[in-house]
């Protein structure tokens, strides 16, 4: 049973607009969440993370929002650029539970059109 779900396999947006990538989780023990970006034939690159004690974290064009009650997080990219086209993975961990292992979703392929 998938503990981290990214229900949209793909997303297409226009350059300059906002990209919103969504992620849901089922394990209430998860307390740390990360987003990774992956280009074909390369390893994932860490983008941004958020602890469960926060509901928002921002880094430049990237903002992650966490809604603990809904067990939902989202990554906002504003403005979107063609170079953002990649697969985005959501990952979660139960750090306070002593597990530093990450559980990944299946990814969402983002295409930013010029």
């Amino acid at each position: 049973d998938q503990q981290v779900k990214q229900n949209s396999p793909s997303l297409s947006v226009q350059e300059g607009r906002i990209s919103i990538l969504n992620c849901d989780y089922t394990n209430s023990m998860f307390d740390y969440f990360l987003w990774y970006k992956k280009y074909p034939a390369e390893g994932p690159t860490f983008l941004i993370s958020i602890s469960s004690i926060k509901d928002k974290n921002e880094d430049g064009r990237f903002t992650v929002f966490l809604n603990k009650s809904a067990k939902h997080l989202s990554l906002h990219i504003v403005p979107s650029q063609p170079g953002d086209s990649a697969v985005y993975f959501c990952a979660a961990s139960a750090m306070q539970g002593g597990s530093e292992k990450l559980v990944f979703g299946k990814g969402t392929k983002l295409t930013v059109n010029p």
């Binding site: 396999p9 390369e42 860490f46 993370s49 530093e100 559980v103 979703g105």
Partner: protein
Amino acid sequence: EADIYQTPRYLVIGTGKKITLECSQTMGHDKMYWYQQDPGMELHLIHYSYGVNSTEKGDLSSESTVSRIRTEHFPLTLESARPSHTSQYLCASSAYYEQYFGPGTRLTVT
């Protein structure tokens, strides 16, 4: 910027061969991980290590084995490759929460 290296980047090999996928990091991270990923699927943890001489199996069963004799080196070995081992293998390391990945090895077993 993370410095973690994997070789080879691509490998095509016949069934029954023994292979070792190399992973090295220069950041002095204690924790290292091996993931397996197929297209359109999530990354699955197959092995991890929290330090020298410490290795554990991950959540996805794998016929591969690993060793951690030095902090910076975490090789993965398949004693007898099979077509079902065809996949991308990703190595990662971490000091705290964020894991940093190498470029991966794309393995094809014919």
